[in-house]
C-alpha cells in the first residue's frame, strides 16, 4: 500500500493544475497517476493555437499549454506514475491501479478525480447503413494525424460541429484533404464562434445546420454518406436526402465525462452534466473525494479547466489539513433557459465569493441572468449573446451569502 496525502487520477490539464494547486497550498505529498507516458492528456494532440488566452495571457498550442503545467509539476517534484491506469476507487479513498510493474494500491487522505472525457461514438447515434473503415471520432483522427503523422482520408464529411470537429476540418484541409461538409443536427453550432470563423469560413467549408448523416455507404472503406435535413423533432426529411461521396466521416457529436471510477466509488452523479454532484470546493458527496475538469463538466476552454482544478486542488489541501468548509449546504438549480448550474450545492458559510458555472439551453440574444434564493436576488449578469457551446460564469459575492434562505435558482430572461 502506497500512502500519500493527495492522489490525483489523471495527468491532463485538470490533474496537473489540481496537483500544483494542492502543493502550493502546503500539502507536498501529492501523487499523479496518468495512463500515458507523458503528462498533458488530450492537449498533447491539440497542436492548434488558442489555448491560454485567459489563464496565461498568451496564445499557446495545446502542447505548449501543457508544457507550462508540466514544468510546474516537475519543479515541485510532484511524483507522477506514468502509463498507470486507475482501475478502482473506493469511498474510503483506496485506489487500485495497474502498470507494467504490477497492481498498485494507494491509500490517500484525499483523492482528486481528473479523468477527463471521451467522445460519443457512432453507435450512440444509431446512424443506419454499413460499417466500413473510415469512420473516426474527431479526436481519434486528430491523434492519428498529429501524434502518429498519418492522414486518415482525402474526402471528408464531418458530423457535429463540436470544437474538435471544427478544428479537424481545418486540420484536414491544411493537409490537403477536401472537407465536403460539416453537418450539425441542431439549428445552431455547438462549437465556439471563433472556431466556426477560423476553421470553416476561412477555408470555405460549408456548415449545414439542422442536418444529419442519415446513412453510411461502403463495404470495406467508406464510399459516401447520405445527408439530410431534419425537422423540429430531429427526424430526417426524406425529400432533402442527398449523397456525398467521401472516404472519411469524422464524428464530433459530443463529449461524455469519463466517470466509471466515480461511479465505482458510489458517488452520486448528475444526469445533466454526467459528472459528480459537487459543492463550491468541487468536493463530491464523499468527503475527501474531489472532481474537476472535463470529468466533472465538459468545458469550452482549457483555461477554465485549470481554474476549476485549482479550486479542487486548494480544497483538497484544506481537507487534508482539516480546514475545509463543513456544514450545511443549499442546492443550486437551473431555472428558465439554463441547462445546468455547477456547483450543485454551496456552503452559505463559505469565506470566499462563489462562482457559478452554467450552460444555456439554446442560443439567445441579449439576456439577463438572475441568481435568486427565495425572493432575494444574489447576483445578476447581462450578456449580449449566449449559446450552449459557451460556458457562463456568474459570481455571488460573499456579502450576499446572508441573504440565502433556500435553494439558489439561476434563470435568464431575454431583454
Amino acid at each position: 500500500m502506497i500512502e500519500c496525502d493527495i492522489l490525483v487520477v489523471g495527468g491532463g490539464p485538470a490533474g496537473m493544475a489540481a496537483a500544483v494547486a494542492a502543493y502550493d497550498s502546503g500539502v507536498k505529498d501529492v501523487i499523479i497517476l496518468d495512463r500515458e507516458p507523458e503528462l498533458g492528456g488530450i492537449l498533447r494532440q491539440c497542436i492548434h493555437n488558442g489555448f491560454g488566452l485567459h489563464k496565461l495571457g498568451a496564445e499557446l498550442t495545446g502542447p505548449e499549454y501543457a508544457a507550462v503545467y508540466k514544468d510546474m509539476v516537475t519543479e515541485r517534484g510532484i511524483k507522477v506514475y506514468y502509463e498507470t491506469m486507475a482501475l478502482d476507487v473506493t469511498n474510503d479513498k483506496i485506489v487500485t491501479a495497474t502498470n507494467r510493474n504490477g497492481i498498485l494500491n494507494f491509500k490517500a487522505k484525499a483523492v482528486i478525480l481528473a479523468m477527463g472525457c471521451r467522445e460519443r461514438s457512432r453507435g450512440a447515434l444509431n446512424i443506419s447503413g454499413s460499417r466500413p473503415a473510415g469512420i473516426y471520432s474527431a479526436g481519434a483522427a486528430q491523434k492519428l494525424m498529429n501524434c502518429e503523422g498519418y492522414s486518415v482520408g482525402k474526402k471528408v464529411v464531418i458530423l457535429g460541429s463540436g470544437d474538435i470537429g471544427l478544428i479537424m476540418a481545418r486540420r484536414m484541409s491544411l493537409e490537403g484533404a477536401k472537407v465536403e461538409a460539416v453537418c450539425e443536427l441542431m439549428s445552431y453550432s455547438g462549437g465556439l464562434t471563433r472556431n466556426i470563423v477560423q476553421c470553416l469560413e476561412d477555408f470555405g467549408i460549408p456548415l449545414y445546420l439542422s442536418t444529419t448523416v442519415a446513412e453510411i455507404h461502403g463495404d470495406k472503406r467508406l464510399e459516401g454518406v447520405t445527408i439530410a435535413q431534419v425537422d423540429e423533432n430531429r427526424r430526417v426529411i426524406e425529400e432533402t436526402k442527398r449523397y456525398i461521396e467521401c472516404d472519411t466521416l469524422l464524428l464530433s457529436v459530443g463529449l461524455i465525462p469519463e466517470n466509471e471510477l466515480t461511479k465505482m466509488a458510489g458517488i452520486e452523479m448528475s444526469a445533466v452534466t454526467s459528472g459528480a454532484l459537487v459543492d463550491e470546493n468541487r468536493q463530491t458527496e464523499v468527503d475527501g473525494i474531489f472532481a474537476c475538469g472535463n470529468v466533472l463538466q465538459v468545458h469550452d476552454l482549457v483555461d477554465y479547466v485549470s481554474d476549476e482544478a485549482e479550486i479542487a486542488g486548494n480544497a483538497a489541501a484544506k481537507f487534508v489539513n482539516g480546514t475545509l468548509e463543513k456544514g450545511e449546504t443549499v442546492n443550486t438549480t437551473a431555472g428558465n433557459g439554463v441547462r445546468y448550474v455547477l456547483p450543485q450545492r454551496v456552503h452559505k458559510t463559505s469565506k470566499e465569493d462563489i462562482a457559478l458555472f452554467m450552460r444555456v439551453t439554446e442560443p439567445f440574444g441579449k439576456v439577463r441572468f438572475t441568481v435568486k434564493s427565495g425572493e432575494e436576488v444574489l447576483a445578476t449578469a447581462v450578456r449580449l449573446k449566449v449559446a450552449p457551446g459557451e460556458m457562463e460564469k456568474i459570481l455571488i459575492k460573499k456579502e450576499k451569502f446572508e441573504l440565502i434562505n433556500g435553494d439558489i435558482i439561476v434563470s435568464l430572461e431575454e431583454i
Partner: protein
C-alpha cells in the same frame, strides 16, 4: 499436397467441423473468403443456446438442436469459451398467445426438451421483476443459455489449428473442379487447393458454392436481423433471455444479457438481396426499440453502444441441409444453417463427420488430439493479487490499451499471436473486446493499429479494419 478434407467457410459450423475432424488422422484445410474467421453470420447473431422447443418435430433442426445443447455446453467448457445457462422465457401477451405457449410447450415435449415449464405472468415477474405487466404467460426453458458466437468460432478454429488444421484466409473460392476423384478448389487469386472431400459450410454463399459443382438444389434466402447492443449499465435488466411468441419470420425480438454483461436486443427479420447486405436501417432500429420495450419497458435505449446487422442463411423448406450433394460425390453440403444453428453446431459437426464416414472417409483416431484450449480470457478473470503476480512476469499485461473494457497490451499481443491469429482491428476486437466498450475504439484504436503494425512488421498504412480495402489511414503526412 492433397488434403483429405477441405472445408469452405470459417464460421462456427466450419470451425466446429474442423475441430471434430481433427480428432482423426486427417489432413484438413479450412478456406475462408474474409481476412478473419467468424465474419459472416457467426459474428452477428443472438448468441443464444436455444432449448429446442421451437423446431418442428422430426426435422434435422429438432434433432440436432436437442442433441446439440449439452454437447455445446461441454465443448464450450473444454474450449474455455464463456457460456452461461441463464434459461429463457418465451412471453405471451394476451389470450391468443397463451395458446401458442401451450403449443410450444407440447412441441418441446415432443422434441424431447427437458426443463420446460409454463408460468403465469405474475410467476414470471417474480423471477424477472422488470418484465412488462402485460405479459400473461411464459414458457420457461431452463436448459437454454447464452454464449458469444464469435468467441466460440475463434476458439473452435483455434483449437482445430492447434491440432494441425490449416486455415487459409482471403481465399474466396471461384471454382471447384473434380478430376480423377480429386477436387481442385480455386480462389479468385488463382491459388489452388486439392482435396478428396469438400464440405460446403459457406453460410450465406453456400448455394453459390454448391452451384460450382453443378448442385442447383437449393437457394439461400438471406434474411437480415438488426440488433442494438447496450452498455453494461443495462446488462442486469433481465437475467433470462426474454423472447416473444415466435412468428413465421423468426423467433421475434429478444432482450437478453450477454455473457460479457451487456444487454442485447433484436433481431428484426427482413429478406435482403444478398448475404453481404449487413446495413442497418432506421426502420429496423425503431422496430427493435419498440418491440424490446414491449417485453421489458424499462430498457434505456440512450445506453445503446452500437447497432449491427447479421444475415441468416435460410432456405424455403425451413430445415438444415446436411447431406452429400446429389450432383457431386464427395461434396457435402452443410447449408441453410439458420437458427438454431449455433445451438446445434457441435451436433451438426458430429452428424457431418458421420456422413463423411458413410461416404468413405476413413477415420483413424488422432492420438495427439487435444480438445482443450488455453483460456484466452484468463487475465481478466484473475484477482488483483493474481494479476499482480502475473504482471511481474509479463509486464505487458500491466499496460492498459482499451480503457472501457480494461484490455491490456499483453492480451492484445496474445490475440495477435494465438491461433487463429488476429490480423486486423476487428479481429483484435472480437478476441479481446478492445474497442467494444462505450467509446467504441475512440481511444484504443490508434494503439491497436500500432501493435498490429509492429507485430506483423507492416507499415501503419497496411493495417486494416477487416481486410484489404479497409485500410485505416491513408498515407504518411
Amino acid at each position: 499436397m492433397i488434403y483429405d478434407v477441405v472445408i469452405v467457410g470459417a464460421g462456427v459450423i466450419g470451425g466446429m467441423l474442423a475441430r471434430e475432424l481433427s480428432k482423426y488422422n486427417l489432413s484438413i484445410c479450412v478456406l475462408e473468403r474474409d481476412n478473419d474467421v467468424a465474419c459472416g453470420a457467426s459474428k452477428a447473431n443472438s448468441g443464444i443456446v436455444h432449448g429446442g422447443f421451437d423446431p418442428e418435430p422430426d426435422t434435422l433442426k429438432a434433432k440436432l438442436n436437442v442433441e446439440g445443447v449439452e454437447k455445446l455446453f461441454e465443448t464450450a467448457k473444454m474450449l474455455n469459451v464463456p457460456i452461461k445457462r441463464n434459461g429463457s422465457f418465451v412471453c405471451a401477451f394476451g389470450e391468443d398467445e397463451n395458446e401458442a405457449i401451450t403449443e410450444l410447450y407440447e412441441r418441446g415435449i415432443k422434441n424431447g426438451v427437458e426443463g420446460l415449464k409454463i408460468l403465469s405472468g405474475d410467476e414470471a415477474r417474480k423471477e424477472e421483476p422488470l418484465l412488462s405487466d402485460k405479459i400473461t404467460s411464459v414458457l420457461s426453458v431452463s436448459n437454454a443459455g447464452i454464449v458469444c458466437p464469435y468467441d466460440l468460432t475463434v476458439a473452435a478454429i483455434g483449437n482445430a489449428m492447434d491440432n494441425d488444421v490449416q486455415l487459409k484466409c482471403n481465399f474466396e473460392v471461384s471454382e471447384i473442379a473434380k478430376n480423377d476423384g480429386i477436387f481442385t478448389v480455386t480462389a479468385i487469386s488463382g491459388e489452388e487447393v486439392k482435396a478428396k472431400y469438400v464440405v460446403n459450410c459457406a453460410g450465406g454463399n453456400s448455394d453459390k458454392i454448391a452451384k460450382m459443382v453443378g448442385d442447383n438444389s437449393f437457394d439461400i434466402i438471406p434474411r437480415a436481423g438488426e440488433y442494438l447492443l447496450l452498455d453494461k449499465a443495462e446488462g442486469t435488466r433481465v437475467s433470462h433471455t426474454i423472447f416473444q411468441v415466435p412468428s413465421k419470420e423468426g423467433k421475434g425480438i429478444l432482450v437478453s444479457p450477454t455473457v460479457d454483461g451487456n444487454l442485447l436486443t433484436g433481431p428484426t427479420a427482413c429478406v435482403v438481396d444478398c448475404a453481404e447486405n449487413k446495413c442497418t436501417t432506421i426502420e429496423g432500429m425503431n422496430t427493435v426499440i419498440k418491440l424490446a420495450a414491449k417485453s421489458v419497458p424499462s430498457v434505456n435505449f440512450r445506453n445503446v453502444i452500437t447497432s449491427f446487422c447479421g444475415v441468416r442463411s435460410s432456405e424455403k423448406n425451413g430445415d438444415f441441409i446436411i447431406e452429400e450433394s446429389k450432383a457431386q460425390k464427395g461434396f457435402v453440403n452443410v447449408a441453410a444453417i439458420d437458427s438454431p444453428g449455433l445451438s446445434s453446431c457441435v451436433a451438426i459437426a458430429e452428424y457431418t463427420v458421420d456422413i463423411l464416414k458413410s461416404i468413405g472417409l476413413s477415420l483413424v483416431e488422432n492420438k495427439n488430439f487435444n480438445g482443450s484450449r488455453e483460456n484466452p480470457h484468463f487475465f481478466r478473470e484473475m484477482s488483483y493479487e493474481q494479476k499482480n503476480e502475473y504482471i511481474k512476469e509479463h509486464p505487458a499485461f500491466g499496460k492498459i490499451i482499451c480503457r472501457c473494457e480494461t484490455v491490456s497490451e499483453g492480451e492484445i499481443l496474445a490475440a495477435i499471436k494465438r491461433n487463429p491469429p488476429a490480423t486486423d482491428i476487428d479481429g483484435v476486437k472480437r478476441r479481446t473486446r478492445s474497442g467494444m466498450g462505450r467509446c467504441q475504439g475512440g481511444f484504443c484504436g490508434p494503439y491497436v493499429m500500432k501493435l498490429i503494425a509492429e507485430q506483423n512488421n507492416i507499415p501503419l498504412t497496411k493495417v486494416t479494419k477487416n481486410g484489404k480495402g479497409s485500410e485505416m489511414v491513408a498515407d504518411k503526412i
